[in-house]
Amino acid sequence: MTKWKIVYYINQFFGQYGGEDVAGMGMVVRNEAIGPALNFQQSFGEQAEIVSTIICGDNYFNEHREDAENQVLKILEEYQPDMVVAGPAFSAGRYGVACGTVCALAEEKFGIPAITGMYPENPGVIMFRSKIYIIQTSNHARTMTKEITKMVSLSKKILNKQQIGNAKEEGTILRGLVRNVRCEKKGTTRAIDMLLKKVRNEPFETETPMEKFDQVEKAPAIKDLSKATIAIATDGGLYPVGNPDKMPFINSNRYAPYYIGDKEFLDGRDYCILHRGYDNEFVLESPDRLVPVDSLKMLEKEKVIGKMYPYFLSTTGLNTSLENSKIIAENMIKRLKEDGVDGVILTST
């Protein structure tokens, strides 16, 4: 009986090398199943063999990403596994990023199916969920056995080329991918059935879960505008010519501040736009149409406002995920609060 060959990735802690003290350790390859890899092997049974366990320090992996990736590629090339498994990383961010990277490499460079496990808020989830299967785990390694069982179950389906169910059925994190399926009942029938249940207060399940958004309390009103420092932020993707900060043109997760200084207005020749979601022509002609420096400068002189904050904060708001929007906002707010800004005008295209 041919056994499936599996390469398993874990970090320094689960590899039993130590904790944070050895998080800087480089990559080690052991030709045996260690830690969670051993659990996985035992749970899977005889049909699979962990041909090697890759162990690497979480800090090393994240601080030397390129080197780590190259080493992983070499290992996969050498072992030619049928599958790659990593983690589970639970809520450990560095570990999640490492697991996600290893799995994504296997999938993208070699077409080797790969799975890992993470807690939904692990940063690795945003980065990798659309590229690989991520089993949804708890946020603590106490549930290791349960998570490994789920990972084994999904692995078997993938290796046996069975139909993979949706996120709920398989216990994976929603990948955000859409797949056509044939249903017994027509869409109209299903919709009416759902509506009738809703009207009768009976339980029903939506086919399209909608994102739930935070209820953010309104910030208190500015009492005296003439004493207030006002900042401009924008998601219109306006950057100095040449995009010196290499800002992304899509799904940004960061912003950059640009000095306004003594400028009375913004000159279109000094800027570029990295945002394909709108026709850039008008803003390039006169960037004040997006970042109203000329207006705020005038209102500062007229003492309508106390001061214009000397930087504008810019990002590209194209296909920005909710999570990334929150990250960008939190970082903008941190800076503005530290610099004593009282109010912000955020312009959007």
Partner: protein, 50 residues
């Protein structure tokens, strides 16, 4: 796009002039456009005081 801002839960939403020129109007002469822009910005600033 205001509906999007509302559904996400933004609290102070000021309707911009256009998606492609939020605070401006290319049809107007530069000086008039600047006046128009200042008037929009003033209204937006007032929202911050409410």
């Amino acid at each position: 796009m205001i509906a999007v801002a509302e559904s996400v839960g933004a609290n102070r939403i000021f309707p911009a002039a256009s998606i492609v020129y939020p605070l401006g109007n290319p049809v107007l002469q530069r000086d008039k456009e600047r006046e128009f822009r200042v008037s929009l910005v003033k209204k937006a600033l007032n929202m911050l005081t409410e």
